[in-house]
């Protein structure tokens, strides 16, 4: 579904992605793990075309999307839940969700998806008139996921959904991710919390200073001694 090959990306003179090759197949949950500064967020920003790549190829369903504009990517069916949630603080919950459906036209379909999001996160329905900025961190994360879902994505990019949240909320959000995947949404998940990510994902890639250094079945990586030492803190 999504294929990155030889992707290079830089912020000014600083190379962040030096050669990233990875693939996400339809129906999968793929985790991208690695330390701070490894290039995880940059990879997602490259897929969303918010940060343009310098070299390499990004294919979505066989079609090159590296030159597309960010809003065209959303229209093609890839939406991102950005790191740090980035909801619109002075818009109400409902308006935030409607913004997610900006690229779509059918009001009826949008209403339906709104109800679906409210079903996934009932707390958002309770708070639908509240301004986004007044929500708690966990609720904001739910709102950010809900907003991305409003574009009705085929591929959902999640950037650090567990960041700064209580363990209980994290497990709630992870179970929603699992359910979404069961509904047919393909997921590319970036996580610091490698243990939780590997338990959730089917496959995973380990990123180190802009390169993929390890990849494979998530269950296999969980027992890999190198991963256990570097990312799970278990010997």
């Amino acid at each position: 579904m999504l294929d990155l090959s030889g992707v290079h990306s830089a912020y000014g003179p600083i190379e962040v992605l030096k050669d990233v090759t990875l693939a996400v197949r339809e129906g999968e949950i793929v985790a991208l793990i690695g330390a701070n500064g490894a290039g995880k967020t940059t990879t997602l920003m490259a897929v969303s075309a918010i940060h343009k790549i310098k070299a390499g190829e990004i294919l979505f369903n066989g079609r090159s999307i590296a030159d597309a504009a960010p809003h065209e990517i959303v229209r093609l069916g890839i939406s991102q839940v950005p790191e740090g949630r980035r909801i619109f603080p002075r818009m109400s919950v409902e308006e935030n969700l409607e913004m997610g459906a900006y690229a779509r036209n059918s009001d009826l379909e949008i209403r339906k998806d709104l109800e679906h999001v409210f079903q996934l996160f009932p707390i958002l329905k309770e708070r639908r008139r509240q301004l986004g900025g007044t929500l708690s961190g966990g609720e904001q994360q739910m709102l950010a996921i809900g907003r991305a879902l409003m574009a009705r994505p085929k591929l959902l990019l999640l950037d650090e959904p567990s960041l700064g949240l209580a363990p209980k909320i994290v497990s709630q959000i992870f179970s929603v991710i699992k359910n979404l995947n069961a509904e047919g949404v393909t997921i590319l998940l970036v996580e610091q919390n490698a243990f939780a990510a590997l338990k959730l994902a089917h496959r995973a890639y380990v990123l180190e200073t802009g390169r993929v250094v390890l990849s494979g079945e998530a269950a296999g990586l969980l027992t890999n001694p190198q991963v256990r030492k570097s990312y799970l803190g278990i010997n």
Binding site: I50, H71, E98, M99, R129
Partner: protein, 402 residues
């Protein structure tokens, strides 16, 4: 506290004594040392006045609350329509009111980029100038009538807005402000230097050919000009009504714009550009449309100004004007339509008020502006009439649900 002022006064007196001489230095020191006493009096006065003032304010609020908002608006509209008919021999007031309405148009236009889309623009006068000069040149050289000139002026400003916006909208925040500042100066210098087209520093007359609009200009047969049959000393009265109509239409248009799809996109852009991109908002297009639309309004205001004034001088369109319009939007409340209108009216009226009632303070106009802005930023940074629509809307909806 008072000792500090006393010391300051002594120091200031000593410092200025060689320059000002004994008497003046002593006077200055005396004034400064009296500041604590004056402050004490002011505080006491304020404490004494606070209760009656609050009561008066509450009474006013209650009174205005009893009249439904729809009547308030219609009442205001009726007043604005009828009052000038009685003032029709007072050129001064009609001119003042028309100028104010033109400034309201300008401020509403700037509010699109600044208030709605959150893009900082410092050279707004450029678009105003382009509209004005486009109209003046077309009317002078090609006898284009007013309505055609209005469309052409707006289109010219929009075109420049679009062309300039295209490369510069990649910039964010301060950098965009600097580019637009440069644009403002560039346009002004072009106008000053291209004498064959704009008349340069000699200025440029305009010849508005008006399709009646109720006005019969001065002629031997009817004597003084007439407005819908009423004799009026001021020909410009119909510009007043034209400006009033344009402001009314603009307010409605702005209201609709801010609730529209593109309006939402602008809010998203203002709140978080990256998140807006991730949500699928075509940000380049959204910015460009804000830029262009805002230029359209400046262009229309410029046309109106050129037609009314009948003569354009390039000095009018300097940075001060851009800064003034910017202050109107900020003072009134960015993004709030009634706020922006109020801001424009207040700032446009201050110089006139000073000139007519306190002529001795007239030269301190800029100082008073500055002081006002500082005080506003300290006590009411959100503006005179901030954008509370959303908040009130949310409140009402929750009440309705509960």
């Amino acid at each position: 506290m008072s000792r500090r002022f006393f010391l300051t006064a002594a120091w200031l007196g000593a410092l200025t004594w060689p320059v000002l001489g004994t008497a003046a230095a002593l006077k200055l020191a005396l004034v400064v040392s009296l500041i604590p006493a004056a402050l004490g009096c002011w505080n006491a006065l304020r404490r004494a006045a606070v209760v009656p003032c609050r009561g008066l304010w509450a009474a006013l609020e209650a009174a205005s609350g009893r009249i439904p908002p729809r009547f308030q608006i219609w009442g205001l509209a009726a007043f604005l329509c009828v009052a000038p008919l009685f003032l029709r021999h007072q050129t001064k007031y009609i001119n003042l009111a028309t100028d104010t309405l033109i400034m309201v148009l300008l401020a509403l236009g700037l509010n699109i980029v600044l208030g709605m889309a959150g893009l900082f623009m410092l050279g707004y006068a450029a678009f105003y100038a382009i509209g004005a000069y486009a109209f003046a040149i077309l009317s002078l050289k090609f006898q284009v009538p007013f309505w055609g000139g209005l469309v052409a002026g707006a289109a010219a400003a929009a075109l420049v807005g679009f062309v300039v916006g295209l490369p510069s909208l990649r910039l964010r925040g301060d950098y965009l402000a600097i580019v637009t500042l440069g644009l403002g100066e560039t346009i002004r210098y072009i106008i000053k230097n291209e004498e064959w087209l704009t008349g340069g520093t000699f200025g440029c007359p305009s010849r508005p050919v008006f399709i009646s609009f109720g006005l019969e200009p001065y002629s031997r047969k009817i004597g003084s000009p007439r407005f819908f049959g009423w004799p009026a000393a001021v020909e410009s009265i119909h510009y007043y009504f034209l400006a009033l109509a344009m402001v009314a239409l603009s307010v409605v248009a702005m209201q609709r714009l801010s609730n529209s799809r593109i309006g939402r996109a602008w809010v998203a852009l203002r709140e978080d550009e990256t998140a807006a991109q991730a949500a699928g908002v075509p940000t380049v297009w959204a910015k460009l449309s804000a830029f262009t639309l805002s230029a359209v309004w400046a262009g229309m205001a410029g046309v109106l100004y050129a037609a009314k004034q009948k003569f354009l001088a390039p000095e009018i369109f300097d940075f001060n004007l851009s800064a003034l319009v910017l202050s109107m939007v900020v003072l009134g409340g960015m993004g709030s339509i009634p706020g922006v209108v109020l801001g424009a009216v207040v700032l446009q009226m201050i110089p006139w008020f000073l000139r007519d009632f306190f002529p001795e303070f007239q030269n301190y106009r800029l100082l008073i502006y500055g002081g006002l802005m500082v005080l506003m930023m300290i006590w009411r940074p959100q503006g005179l009439w901030p954008n509370t629509r959303r908040k009130i809307e949310l409140q009402e909806e929750t009440d309705a649900v509960a």
